[in-house]
Symmetry: C2
């Protein structure tokens, strides 16, 4: 069997992130202040984020240097492998060439450290002692805990109560990395106390956990700041190391994709893989590629949402951004791909969808796990529930090639492994999942 | 910070396994038949194992070719990384140079697929349709399930009842790879039915699960064979890809170890790393290296056992081998490093200990988890409970260097990650562990 893994050396790591904002055909509509509805200024964000990250969020530079200290950490697991899925191709009897970019090799098991590490670094450099954040499924909380451990920052994670109780192992992972993990709603914040007063048995929500983490940072008198793991321009930018590496690895494979696929919750994993390919077709240095963002049928912001200004959180405390949204009061059903349960979509991904630069597809949960199991049996890796969405559409595209006889190259993002999500597979095998 | 990971390309994979048997100073005492007490012949093993594996078990060739189909699977994750633990060194303020060979990159999360894959391959080649095996902690069962999935074999795993109930996620992993998992004692075998008749609430034991798996293979009329994940000569031989890769990676690092460390339950992980280094000092092509096998203080076969003939299982059904043993009726206390709870030690490791070619050290459980957490905070990887034993001694050696001012090179085996063992960390943080 020919070479399966396309590996780069640590010296081949990208040294810049790609900021797509200056290349967007219609630009990016500004964030609006939730009170004044006027465009948010950098100063408005200063209580929450360090200056370097605010600069990145508003930057119109295309290429932004990755600091050496961040590269040193990336090198612990990056460049991540690009794998030709020969065994999956054989199982599918498809003439398609299937590649996956595997982000589960990070110590936290997903792509999230790509942004957690620089966020921790810039905060540390500006003298911040502690980061606060929220986590639902736990991937982001684990990743920020890891990053804070690397840079010697304290980390305080507000974990949605229902996850806190149901996912003790995710919590243990964060504690192993040295973070303190608090069930939300908690008695540590006004937002938490108010929620508990209204309902002492509240199981929490991501929106409420965000409110608690933000309040805790604001109440610290400047020693603590807040970190967010998706949606922001800077987060999508940090994730572009994925696609930049994939481009170089495909050169090693002497191939170029016809289709690029990623799961999209907030949109950062999809964008991290897709944007560097989009850049090539945009600047004329590469051919056109179909970019497919895959979302759960139960939370279809791109395929069924409207493109309008909406709040990022449930309570309406965050800035308004123009995005594809199901409405900030939309409550997605409980599915196992917790990382995809978000009412909105990153403004950058939404803007690209608006200009028809990308396709969106919504897939039901059981079909995703079916694809995940098929993938695991062929390639040996158990995908995270979020990642099974990309696997599903990659398999569907490969099966379409079998029908048509076309030999397309399909590249998808395997954003993480499912080691901390095995309950989902238990439920799938037991026939307990619904779509 | 200088280069941290020393990576080899797929082309640098070893193409032979190293069989230490012909190099052992006093040779290896023969296995004895449990009934006749006469040396076991290859024919005695034919009902259980395919001929190619029996040949390997009795082989006196030093270098045995790795089949191309096995190399094709190894290449899915091998060569595994050798990592310079710069951050751990800094945290310890030690002049020592610490390297770890990371086997947790395999899809099953440990070194066990190194032998599961060739075992599945040789069985498939000889027309076997199904493999049976036992599993306690679950690493071996996961690895054989994976290997059977790659080669299209059925896999039947007898999982010790207490693990079956307490570790549903390990079970789900095996099922994701397509294996059938049965709680042992089961009603599928005479051994299981007898155990249940004696105690309907039996939580099982590894010895009983072995009996069930062996019986199921023997009862199959030749369509099924049995697979064992440690102790055998052939298993240790398959694991030598670890040490062979490490030797090449240390050349890239322009370094050579003073000390090589591995955790030892049955002994295959330790031997897989250590034997290729031992070979170099034995044939004069390399300097002397201290080899340290680390075992739990609660199950100290090498440090406190006697070197004598004993059974491999509790019931006395397996051949007798000369080994360091605590007695086949020794019941190790329940510790989280389930893979190290074995009353004996591989005959090869025992023979080397007998000739003082290696050191043994026993360490208590809590000190191991303390080391595991320190390692995770520095290097980002959460070690399996078994692996924390090697981490503990590596840290102790590095701290001794801080005292003495010596700058030794320390290489240890990080045999697997702890993603499926987080309950152990939960218990550690809660202060519920005993030594």
């Amino acid at each position: 069997m020919p070479v399966t893994r396309f590996l780069l050396s640590a010296n081949d790591l990208p040294t810049t992130w790609y900021n797509v904002v200056p290349d967007l055909p219609k630009g990016l509509p500004p964030m609006l202040h939730p009170g004044t509805r006027q465009p948010v200024t950098p100063a408005d964000l200063a209580p929450l984020f360090p200056q370097a990250l605010i600069d990145q969020e508003f930057s119109t530079d295309r290429d932004i240097d990755i600091p050496g200290a961040v590269l040193d950490v990336y090198r612990q697991w990056r460049p991540s492998p690009l794998v030709r899925a020969h065994r999956l191709e054989q199982a599918l009897k498809t003439p398609a060439r299937i590649y996956f970019k595997y982000e589960g090799v990070s110590p936290a098991g997903s792509h999230k450290p790509n942004t957690a590490v620089p966020q921790a670094y810039y905060n540390k450099r500006e003298g911040v002692a502690k980061l606060t954040t929220e986590t639902g499924a736990g991937q982001w909380g684990s990743s920020l805990s890891l990053a804070c451990s690397y840079f010697g920052l304290d980390c305080e994670v507000y974990m949605v109560r229902v996850s806190y109780d149901q996912k003790p192992y995710r919590r243990a992972l964060m504690e192993t990395f040295g973070a303190s993990v608090t069930a939300s709603p908690s008695t540590l914040t006004e937002a938490g106390r108010a929620a508990l007063a209204a309902d002492p048995d509240s199981t929490g929500s991501l929106g409420l956990a965000i409110s608690e983490a933000v309040e805790a940072a604001l109440a610290s008198g400047g020693t603590a700041k807040y970190a967010l793991g998706s949606v922001l321009n800077l987060v999508l930018m940090h994730q572009t190391v994925i696609g930049q590496e994939a481009l170089r690895q495909l050169e090693l494979a002497d191939d170029y994709p016809d289709v690029v696929i990623g799961a999209a919750g907030g949109g950062s994993n999809f964008a991290g893989l897709a944007l560097p390919f989009w850049r090539r077709q945009h600047d004329g240095s590469g051919p056109a590629v179909r970019l497919i963002a895959v979302e759960p049928a139960s939370c279809p912001s791109l395929t069924e949402g409207t493109y309008e200004y909406d709040f990022g959180d449930t309570a309406g405390m965050t800035p308004l951004t123009k995005m594809h949204t199901l409405g900030h009061d939309f409550v997605p059903p409980s599915i196992h791909a917790g990382g995809l349960r978000y009412h909105g979509m990153a403004p950058i991904v939404s803007a690209l969808k608006d200009t028809e630069a990308l396709e969106a597809r919504a897939v039901p949960q059981r079909a995703c796990f079916s694809a995940g199991v098929q993938f695991a049996r062929a390639e040996g890796i158990v995908p995270a529930p979020e990642s099974t969405h990309a696997v599903r559409v990659a398999i569907d595209e490969a099966l379409a090639c079998r029908e048509s006889g076309e030999s397309k190259a399909i590249v998808f993002s395997l954003s993480g492994h499912g080691h901390f999500d095995m309950q989902a597979y238990v439920d799938y095998f037991a026939g307990r999942l619904t779509d």
